[in-house]
């Protein structure tokens, strides 16, 4: 399926990451956005509000983030592609509805333009402190997909990817931007609509009376229908059977919840995306994501100039995490260095998957700005000395 040429702004633009995210959503076919103003994400919905009336979309500024994060789910069950956009404090308020979307297998996109927290923190300055919240933020067990762009171009490209993955796996997808990427303006190439691949909603097309809303296909993902089509569906956040009916038993829980986890876990190799540079001969591997993946480059270049073999593994999809790749590398590299704009989140994931075969060094940062590349460079040196 291809994007709608009437809505896509094909061409070269000089856009900030927030606006590029809006254009990505439009190109992906999103036509319902609900949001609540919060710095540094507001520009996303401002552009949506500007653009939507003339391309058949509806934007509504809801009364809070809780409302926004469930209004989009109503819209999805009425057949639209939908997204909400927020930053830390609003993201915290949305957690229950990430759980609802996971439980009801509602394809939708949540954008979090991360700012420094906790609480109100630094509203206009970057951080990457919501990465574990993205993975584990709602109560209970569920699989999730989170993506981390490092440029306005990627804010465009990966918003489309977020929608596509959400449709393919019927799961909420979290686009984990940060203030720096969101407020950074760079060239963004928007391709012609016919070059933009859109994953269509997995609508059921079998006999009506045989439809079971939560009967999975082979890849563990069930087919969807929408309200108004005569299926008389029942959708609930309660533990449910394949019919969608609540079943309050351990057996029903055992049937449903592992599937919600496994549909991401078993398809992880297809979902995972990362980019590697100079990995083959590397003694030290930097694992980074988002804006930090760019900040690390001067440190890597300096180290390589001095003959230190540093490789770079940049996570594009952060969740699911490339566990196997880290384990493989741990068997042959001397160390990992993980710079992130937090006090250690993805660091622990790298450490867990290194199984003690290679030490992992965190380059922490409280947020508010980005790392000084020197700190990353110094940690590279330190990691080789084994300190």
């Amino acid at each position: 399926m291809k994007s709608d040429p009437k809505a896509v702004l094909t061409g070269a633009h000089f856009l900030d990451g927030d606006h590029a995210c809006s254009e990505g959503a439009i190109a992906a076919g999103c036509r319902f956005v609900a949001g609540y103003p919060i710095t540094p994400s507001t520009e996303v919905v401002e552009r949506i509000a500007e653009r939507f009336p003339l391309i058949g979309g509806v934007f509504i500024q809801m009364e809070d983030e809780i409302a926004s994060s469930i209004a989009i789910q109503g819209a999805v069950w009425a057949g639209k592609k939908a997204m909400t956009v927020t930053s830390g404090p609003g993201f915290s308020l949305m957690m229950e509805h990430i759980g609802l979307a996971a439980m009801t297998e509602t394809p939708c996109v949540f954008v979090d333009v991360q700012r420094a927290g906790p609480s109100t923190g630094l509203p206009t300055q970057p951080a990457q402190g919501d990465m574990m919240q993205a993975r584990w933020g709602s109560h209970g067990d569920y699989g999730i997909i989170a993506i981390s762009p490092n440029s306005p171009q990627e804010c465009f490209d990966l918003t489309i990817k977020a929608f596509n993955l959400s449709e393919q796996y019927r799961v909420p997808v979290l686009l984990m931007m940060d203030e720096c990427v969101g407020h950074m303006t760079e060239r963004v190439i928007i391709p012609p609509a016919e070059e933009i691949e859109i994953f269509p909603r997995r609508f059921y097309d079998g006999p009506k009376d045989e439809y079971l809303p939560f009967k999975p296909d082979e890849d563990l993902v069930p087919k969807i229908v929408k309200a108004g089509d005569g299926y008389r569906i029942h959708i609930t956040g309660l533990t449910h059977d394949e019919k969608g009916y609540p079943v309050m038993t351990a057996a029903a829980q055992e049937k449903l919840i592992p599937r919600l986890v496994n549909k991401i876990k078993f398809n992880a190799e297809k979902i995972i995306e990362y980019k590697e540079d100079n990995i083959d001969d590397a003694d030290v591997v930097i694992v980074s994501y988002g804006i930090t993946s760019r900040v690390a480059i001067p440190a890597i270049e300096q180290a390589r100039k001095e003959g230190i073999k540093v490789g770079h593994l940049r996570l594009i999809v952060v969740w699911p995490f490339p566990e196997k790749r880290i384990t493989q590398l741990a068997g042959r590299v001397k160390s990992f260095v993980v710079p992130e704009l937090n006090q250690g989140q993805i660091f622990y994931e790298v450490e867990r998957n290194a199984y003690g075969k290679a030490p992992v060094y965190l380059v922490p940062h409280a947020g508010g700005t980005v790392h000084n590349p020197k700190d990353i460079y110094n940690t590279i040196l330190k990691s080789l000395k084994g300190k």
Binding site: H13, F14, E179, M184, T185, E186, R187, R294, P298
Partner: protein, 184 residues
Amino acid sequence: MRTEIKIGGFGGQGVILSGYIIGRAASIYDNKYATMIQSFGPEARGSACSAQVIVDPNEIAYPYIVQPQILIVMSQEAYTKFSTELAPGGILITEEELVNPINLRKDVIHYSIPATRFAEELGKRLVVNIVMIGFMTAVTELIDPEAMQKAVIASVPKGTEDLNLKAFNKGYDYGLKLKKEKAS
């Protein structure tokens, strides 16, 4: 080579738009890479505001400026705040009537232009920022002037293209003249 530009002034002078046009010219019309970062938050809504632009023939990794080679200031406050940041040998561009370059550093090249007066002569004080970037284009030779003109036209409100182009050329011509004088 990576060139870092910082633009400072007060609200209403079009500081952010100046940075935007420079970045757009470089990255869309001049085959270079550009990254712009603006200062946000209460400070951006009060009097002082600034924009940072990096222009590079190669892809830009680190997104913030470290030590600008070009500093454009349109207010005394911005001059005081930012002039020490300029790299030795860098280019300092000031608005002549708004900035008194006290304790001017000897290790920088200084150009100044009465941009506000030029803008007023053109009939709209608002175009002061466009006069400034026209001037910058001439004295720094960082970006192709045609690319800059295209970016100006694409970035200003519809119906004001001619006025803004005139403002750009006014600053650009004045810059060429000053540069010639300096060289001779």
